[in-house]
């Protein structure tokens, strides 16, 4: 306890709204006073957004981006989680793979773009592959650490009740590591959303990333550029909020020490 009382309900909305409004005002007046003809004001961005919606291109781009993330991230989860659990379970195997992983892990997925294009050509495949790469390593590492950090008391209790190794993995190690794995999955989802935008600027001709670069290239429509950027932020936030709801599930909540 720190002695501060809970903020009142209205305060929890009021102050953030005020901050956002001030920021918009700052933006608006900066554009006005500087007399820039390139950078759009908030009102112009809003008009640009409306225009995108009217021409029905926006939904297509959003769906394309989300589909690529779903595929690349989904593949990273399906391969990364079992692999990470296995490596956490067999420290000897982990020692063999670890050096390679540690070298690959800090490489920005953007650096792989030329390689992805060789393998998959220009198209969805390359974008999905890049997202997969970005999400894969954080997931694997979270699973390895999650399993390695399970207190030995739980392992011993599981063995005491006569569990076979596969049962021990499924009924003790996995649930015990789940909170840490969820943190890794959430970080990986954030990265996937970062990578899709970059990938779409180069490898494909649809999606929100493409919308940004295309709006600039075809007539310097910076109102549309900024509209797309804001939309990317809002969707990224929505994905994160949705994922955070998982952390509230009763069977994992113990792993997230909340103020009580």
């Amino acid at each position: 306890m720190n002695g501060f009382s809970q903020p009142a309900r209205w305060e929890r909305f009021f102050w953030p709204m005020l901050a956002s409004a001030l920021l918009l005002a700052l933006w608006h007046y900066s554009v006005r006073w500087s007399g820039t003809r390139v950078f759009p004001s908030p009102v112009e961005v809003e008009k640009g957004m409306a225009e995108l919606l009217r021409h029905h291109v926006l939904w297509g781009d959003i769906v394309d981006s989300l589909r690529r993330v779903a595929l690349g991230y989904g593949a990273a989860v399906l391969i990364g989680v079992p692999l990470g659990l296995t490596l956490g379970w067999y420290p000897a195997a982990n020692q063999v793979v670890n050096p390679v992983m540690q070298i690959l892990r800090p490489i920005s997925p953007i650096a792989w773009i030329p390689v992805a294009i060789i393998f998959f050509g220009i198209g969805d495949g390359a974008a999905v592959f890049l997202i997969f790469l970005g999400a894969f390593f954080p997931i694997v590492v979270a699973c390895i650490n999650g399993v390695a950090n399970v207190p030995s008391v739980y392992r011993r209790a599981g063995r005491n009740f006569g569990l076979t190794p596969p049962q021990l993995l499924a009924k003790v190690l996995f649930p015990a590591a789940l909170p840490q794995i969820l943190v890794g999955l959430r970080i990986a989802l954030g990265i996937a959303w970062l990578v899709v935008v970059a990938a779409e600027m180069i490898a494909v001709d649809s999606g929100l990333g493409f919308l940004v670069i295309d709006s600039r290239n075809s007539g310097k429509r910076y109102d549309l550029v900024v509209a797309a950027i804001l939309l990317i932020g809002v969707i990224g936030l929505a994905l994160d909020v949705a994922f955070r709801r998982l952390e509230k599930l009763r069977s994992v909540r113990w792993g997230f020490r909340l103020e009580s």
Partner: protein, 262 residues
């Protein structure tokens, strides 16, 4: 209350557990540390034995070896004449309340070792042990929301639910406040009298040992040997102000080398 019955010397009881010249040594950084030296102990079926000794003397190591979590460097541990080679659901180790699984409810924890049973058998069994440890109304609660004493009772219930012959308790009440401890000791005795499991109970608390055990095994500092085995010939419920109780307690105090004065 019924008249305290004269204690019958534990008549010819079958030996449940025998520890035969067991030594345990650990190797670390090329240095060999001897933890247990030549431990000999026989425990009868249904007996309540306390292992008592100073912190870090190796009581827990001995308990771990009995559970099958580690194998002795020499000597052998047998249960029902069969050498212990690994953990087994017939003897359940109870950790200091930290062993309950936080991702399972009270029900889920107690049912953990019962997954082989059909639901029709499992559910009544879970309900029975929830009642036995007084956790009714908390069936769907997660351990995080339970007090330390409740978590400890939950762990004991989870252990009892698989119907083991033996419970190995490692300072189970060590982390609890003294009032909760007293309550749980009484509860453990009640459960022991109802279920007649063999209990090996590790503690560094002399009073706790004399209140609970049929026999108290006093262990020396490292490398631990058995210094003395004291038979507590007082019937339950024990009057902890009776001369006999104080006698036995003081005897152990002296045995451990503590003057009974502050």
């Amino acid at each position: 209350m019924a008249q305290a019955q004269p204690i019958v010397a534990p008549a010819v009881v079958r030996t449940k557990l025998s520890v035969d010249r067991v030594s345990v040594a650990f190797e670390r950084d090329g240095k060999r540390t001897e933890v247990l030296r030549d431990i000999d102990l026989e425990v009868g079926d249904g007996e309540f034995v306390c292992l008592l000794g100073p912190s870090g003397c190796g009581k827990t190591t001995l308990l771990n070896a009995m559970a099958g979590f580690l194998s002795p460097s020499s000597g052998a541990i047998r249960v029902d004449g069969e050498t212990v080679r690994g953990p087994d659901p017939r003897r359940i180790f109870v950790f200091q309340e930290r062993g309950v699984f936080p991702w399972l409810t009270v029900e889920g924890n107690i049912g953990f070792g019962l997954s082989k049973l059909p639901k029709t058998e499992r559910d009544p069994r879970i309900a029975h042990y929830i009642r036995m440890v007084g956790l009714q109304g908390f069936e769907k609660t997660y351990p995080q929301e339970l007090s330390g004493g409740m978590k400890q009772r939950l762990e004991v219930a989870r252990a009892l639910a698989v119907n083991p012959d033996m419970l190995l308790l490692d300072e189970p009440f060590g982390a609890l406040d003294s009032i909760t401890r007293l309550g749980l000791r009484a509860e453990l005795l009640r459960i022991w009298e109802a279920e007649r499991k063999t209990i090996i109970f590790v503690t560094h608390d002399i009073d706790e040992a004399v209140q609970l055990a049929d026999r108290v095994v006093v262990m020396s500092a490292r490398p631990a040997r058995i210094q003395e085995i004291v038979t507590i010939d007082i019937a339950h419920p024990r009057d902890i102000s009776s001369p006999r109780y104080l006698d036995l307690r003081d005897g152990i105090f002296q045995q451990i080398g503590l003057a009974h004065k502050l």
